[in-house]
């Protein structure tokens, strides 16, 4: 009796399978009638070619899971972008201030993956260049830069290990400084005010300020600013959601789209205004978290946690793993993702993490502080239970 592999070697059989025609169909119909004992073997041969022989995917399980993970991450990001942020307004007249903003989007019914509940997967993203858009032209920088504007419309740009570069900046147009994830920069404005821009920030600023007021716009990200005192010209920081008004002070604004909207006051006094609600004054070391209804909830915090990024370290006090990873992710341009019910993310972390150039050192510290283990494979980071 013929074995199914005999059929697979048989030209007649293969032709019939690949491209049947009337003659071949007739032939094999007769063959089956004459050799009923072969029917099973023929069927097996067909199943083999169709499911395996000519259609064998060599995508392995790992690749399959990672690709799905990537698809989900992109979909989540796209949905976030689609949401619009709610408008709120605040005025500040303070020493040091920090505002965090987020959008309250409706978490979509999540699409299920759950490869392993106690696993957090991170991916190192490609580093992009810092971009300075001025006079309708873009200038790119691979490393963190320091930009200094002078009163004559010149900008001095220094980059680590490189010569200082000087460019002319036109008076009339707004300039944009884009600092991608994984990078930081500083900018000294024409009035001497100094800005530290954190990873993932976009700032619009003029070469010179007008006569009545000073205005800049933080479109995204986080910045710390020391404003030069000038009573006659109030300083405004605009964001997509609200404005901050100051008269010569130091403060920090965070305007990331994926963190809770909040204000942290370090020194002095600040008032927050949201549409349709009474102005709210908060006191130093107080954090006000904005809610969708337009109200704020306040609590006492350790201010250092919110401004230490500028000094090159992150400080945590019983901070959740998810928040720790979010901050580290921004700094090193990593994307972490996990299901809501992964218990690991609820682990808390207390202590300081120095933002060293060696990423492995940082992850080792995180693993130590949270009693987890981490493993790095190419661009992927896997965090698991100890």
């Amino acid at each position: 009796m013929k074995h199914y592999t005999d059929f697979l070697k048989d030209g007649k059989f293969l032709r019939w399978q690949l491209l049947d025609d009337d003659a071949l169909n007739q032939y094999w119909r007769n063959f089956k009638i004459e050799h009923p004992e072969s029917i099973k073997e023929i069927e097996q041969a067909i199943v083999y070619i169709k499911n395996k022989g000519m259609n064998n995917s060599n995508l392995n399980e790992n690749e399959r899971a990672l690709l799905f993970h990537k698809i989900q991450t992109t979909i989540r990001q796209r949905h976030k972008v689609k949401q619009r942020r709610l408008f709120w307004y605040s005025v500040a007249a303070v020493a040091i201030l920090l505002i965090g903003l987020t959008l309250f989007y409706h978490q979509r019914e999540d699409i299920v993956i759950t490869p392993d509940k106690e696993l957090i997967v991170g991916e190192l993203l490609n580093n992009e260049d810092i971009q300075l858009i001025t006079n309708k032209e873009s200038i790119y920088f691979q490393n963190d830069i320091e930009v200094k504007l002078d009163k004559g419309g010149k900008a001095e740009i220094s980059q680590k290990n490189k010569e200082i570069r000087e460019i002319e900046i036109k008076q009339e147009q707004l300039n944009t400084l884009i600092v991608p994830y994984g990078k930081r920069s500083t900018l000294t404005l024409a009035d001497g005010s100094k800005i530290w821009l954190n990873s993932g920030s976009v700032l619009e600023f003029p070469a010179q300020f007008g006569d009545k007021k000073r205005e800049i716009r933080l479109t995204a990200g986080e910045m710390y600013i020391e404003v030069t005192h000038d009573r006659s010209k109030p300083f405004f920081v605009h964001t997509s959601g609200f404005n901050v008004r100051v008269y010569g002070t130091k403060f920090n604004i965070s305007n990331y789209t994926d963190s809770p909207q909040s204000v942290v006051l370090v020194e002095g006094s600040v008032s927050l205004q949201s549409k349709g609600h009474k102005e709210l004054f908060i006191t130093p070391s107080e954090k006000a978290v904005y809610s969708e209804s337009g109200t704020f909830e306040t609590r006492q915090v350790d201010v250092d946690q919110f401004i230490s990024w500028r000094e090159g370290y992150l400080s945590f006090d019983k901070t959740s793993m998810s928040e720790v990873l979010q901050k580290i992710g921004r700094y090193y341009n990593l994307s972490f993702d996990y299901e809501q019910d992964v218990n690991l993310q609820k682990r808390t972390c207390s202590g300081k993490i120095y933002l060293s150039d060696n990423f492995d050192n940082v992850m080792t510290t995180v693993a130590l502080l949270t009693s987890t283990q981490y493993r790095k494979e190419n661009k992927n980071i896997f965090i698991t239970n100890q």
């Binding site: 030209g11 032709r15 690949l18 003659a23 000519m54 690709l67 698809i71 699409i111």
Partner: protein, 176 residues
């Protein structure tokens, strides 16, 4: 059907199809990524598409054609027709056949000989028609050709296989 189910059901077929069209693994993965993102983000698509598998295949192919044009443009500026120009090579897997190496090679050779005697487009049609079981209308759409042209490709393929590998059968059929 949710995304995970859809993905698990079709990712292997899509990946194989992309690889057979001659693209690098990573490029195929990127294209699959784009297809699933599009199908999910453009709301309601999952609910409104009746032939979801065909829709995925067509989206993948179109995405790959775009990538292909882009690659070509970078090399030479000549205009290429992707429906003619793209390779199509079916990989024959015999590893899972629980037989001796020699037999495995024989099976592999037998199938490959037949496939190499055909053109890229004819191989693609075989894959789409026989393995994926699409009808002529769908195949024509995937190949960017007319249904008539598609049928013609099939009949010339049948003809050439018969000439090269089927003398005996033609003979037997005539006798019966």
């Amino acid at each position: 059907m949710d995304l995970a189910a859809l993905y698990n059901l079709y990712v292997n077929d899509l990946f194989t199809y992309g690889c057979y069209l001659g693209f690098e693994r990573e490029i195929v993965k990127d294209a699959i990524h784009d297809v699933f993102v599009k199908v999910t983000v453009d709301e309601g698509l999952l609910r409104h598409i009746s032939h979801i598998k065909f829709y995925l295949f067509r989206s993948l192919k179109n995405r790959l054609i775009d990538l292909h044009k882009y690659q070509k443009d970078e090399i030479a500026l000549e205009k290429v027709d992707p429906s003619v120009d793209m390779p199509f090579n079916i990989h024959i897997d015999v590893e899972s056949l629980l037989i001796e190496k020699e037999d495995q090679m024989q099976v592999k050779n037998a199938i490959e000989q037949m496939l190499t005697s055909l053109t890229d487009r004819q191989r693609e049609i075989i894959y789409l028609r026989y393995i994926q079981e699409y009808d002529y209308n769908q195949i024509a759409e995937l190949l960017h050709i007319s249904v008539h042209g598609c049928r013609k490709l099939v009949s010339t393929a049948i003809h050439s296989l018969r000439e090269k590998f089927g003398f005996l059968i033609t003979f037997l059929t005539l006798m019966s």
